[in-house]
């Protein structure tokens, strides 16, 4: 399957936002996972995959799609729905309250593959999280499958 030009054009799109981490953010993430490790419960240090809570951009409700799909995944794809995906999450320097994290997202690739039940479109989104000291705190390469 050949990708439509508008889909191909989305490859390489970069977005960036900055979040300040609070103890509340860490505690709420740990509570959402159900991880009651005392360090995370108090919020002195963040759980390994905490940066997921910084992944999505703050967007007012009227700028979201009707289904609320994260804006970074709202791409012009010739498919109807997301059907799964994978992730490789590198854990870097620890995240603590007061850290300022720059979140940089890049649509690294979009490609088509023929599956048993039709064409599948893969979107590769790489998200890099860097703290105020320039240290990488996390990097995730996510692959989203659409049909």
């Amino acid at each position: 399957m050949e990708l439509p030009p508008e889909t191909r054009a989305a490859i390489g799109t970069v977005t960036e936002h900055v979040y300040e981490v609070s103890r509340k953010d860490i505690r709420r993430y740990a509570q959402a996972i159900g991880d009651d490790d005392p360090r995370f419960r108090v919020g002195d240090i963040a759980p390994p995959l905490f940066c997921h809570s910084l992944a999505f951009e703050d967007v007012p409700v009227d700028e979201l799609r009707a289904d609320g799909l994260p804006t970074e995944l709202d791409l012009p794809l010739p498919t109807e729905r997301a059907v799964g995906g994978g992730s490789s999450f590198e854990v870097g320097a620890p995240v603590r309250p007061g850290d300022t994290i720059t979140v940089r997202k890049e649509i690294e690739d979009i490609y088509a593959k023929s599956g048993r039940s039709g064409d599948l479109i893969f979107v590769v989104l790489t998200t890099t999280y860097t703290n105020q000291h320039g240290e990488q705190v996390a990097r995730e390469r996510g692959e989203f499958v659409n049909r």
Partner: protein, 141 residues
């Protein structure tokens, strides 16, 4: 914490990571959506999820990753750090049913003075089907 006793010399290939059982509820999914500011309806609106072809609200890919990371960090404790967690979602985790996180050590190596463990990890649903296979890299010391 069990991880406090984990040492490089005591770890052997084939060692099982103590499993962790979760039972994701709609409330937990809502809390995870709120915590990650993920507003996608498939995670908290049953009607929408069903119209999208699902049986119920969808357990987030990132939440399954968070569960796997919790299993790893409870095992490792203060003995080391998690370097990488990779997982792929192949099926749906059922709501209000046990979801079991498992893993085992498949390789032990020293690289540039770093003591590394490669692990195979997975999330299994209540019917013992692996819905999310993956791998992890852990550094000891």
């Amino acid at each position: 914490m069990a991880g406090a006793t984990l040492t490089w010399d005591s770890i052997e290939i084939g060692d099982r990571i103590p499993s962790l059982v979760k039972r994701p509820t709609p409330m937990q999914l809502f809390m995870f959506s709120a915590s990650t500011w993920n507003r996608h309806l498939i995670h908290y609106n049953t009607e929408f999820a069903i119209s999208d072809g699902l049986k119920n609200v969808a357990v987030h890919r990132a939440l399954i990753g968070g569960f796997l990371a919790q299993m790893l960090s409870e095992w490792v404790g203060d003995a080391g750090t998690i370097v990488n967690v990779s997982w792929s979602v192949r099926g749906s985790a059922a709501i209000n049913r046990p979801l079991t996180l498992r893993g085992e050590v498949i390789e032990k190596r020293e690289e540039d003075g770093r003591r590394l463990l490669s692990c195979e990890i997975r999330a299994e649903n209540h019917e013992n089907e692996t819905i999310a296979p993956g791998t992890a890299l852990v550094r000891i010391g």
